[in-house]
Symmetry: C2
Subunit: 144 residues, 2 copies
């Protein structure tokens, strides 16, 4: 269902029917360090990605390469995600998401991500991911 | 033009005709530490704000209070902003923006912000601001 292309080895774009489905696929790809799926869930063109503490990476190929680089240096991370807030129009959706990432020895890092999805003819694709680490001891907020 | 309310002392919501106008007002309010304008340019309801390194603040009153708190502890900051990327539908707009903030003694901090605006009957209002510091020495990106 999710493979918009032909054989599973040549995924070009995924077919995702809702922003929530796209988000689930994104975190599944992250969790499994799956570069092919990650590449296939982003829209073409000037998509943009901000990894924690980093500058902006613009363009499909550049964003895909950044994830391949991250995945090549990572164990499969244990990520739990939870949507804090959704704002949507007919063809654009913005989610604020908490990512709780196990960093080993029982430690956890909390990341907040703004994920933006856009509706195309074949379905919803990711167009932005902006992630930032929530520093320990940051001021109390409504998200614990 | 921008005052949707009556007297200028009782701004309730601003009237901003485009996302770019809303963004200019946001950074003007930031630069001038103007809590009243800041409060008036955010939509009501479950708007969300992530200050650099912090958790998510949800709700109009809570977000407005967070800016009042920041402004009470700040000199008027020197902020230059530049839009890196825009994604928009008829009634929702997402901008990725660089903020270059002079931090004194000639030092600069670079922040990346995702700003989200929504169109209401009276015009465009802010519904999300997610900011993160670009750490010195972060990997090269397409935004210098």
């Amino acid at each position: 269902m999710r493979n918009g292309g032909g054989a599973s080895m040549s995924i070009r774009k995924l077919t995702m029917r809702t922003p929530d489905e796209a988000e689930a696929v994104f975190y599944e790809a992250f969790q499994h360090c799956d570069s092919a799926v990650m590449e296939a869930l982003w829209a073409d063109g000037d998509v943009v990605c901000v990894h924690p503490g980093s500058g902006a990476i613009i363009g499909h190929a550049q964003v895909a390469r950044s994830f391949t680089h991250i995945f090549s240096n990572a164990q499969r991370p244990d990520i739990q995600f939870s949507v804090v807030q959704r704002v949507a129009s007919d063809d654009l959706a913005v989610h604020l998401v908490t990512e709780d990432i196990a960093t080993g020895q029982g430690a956890m890092a909390r990341v907040l991500a703004t994920n933006v999805y856009r509706k195309y003819a074949q379905g919803w694709l990711m167009v932005e991911h902006h992630a930032s680490v929530v520093q320990a001891g940051s001021q109390p907020t409504t998200v614990q």
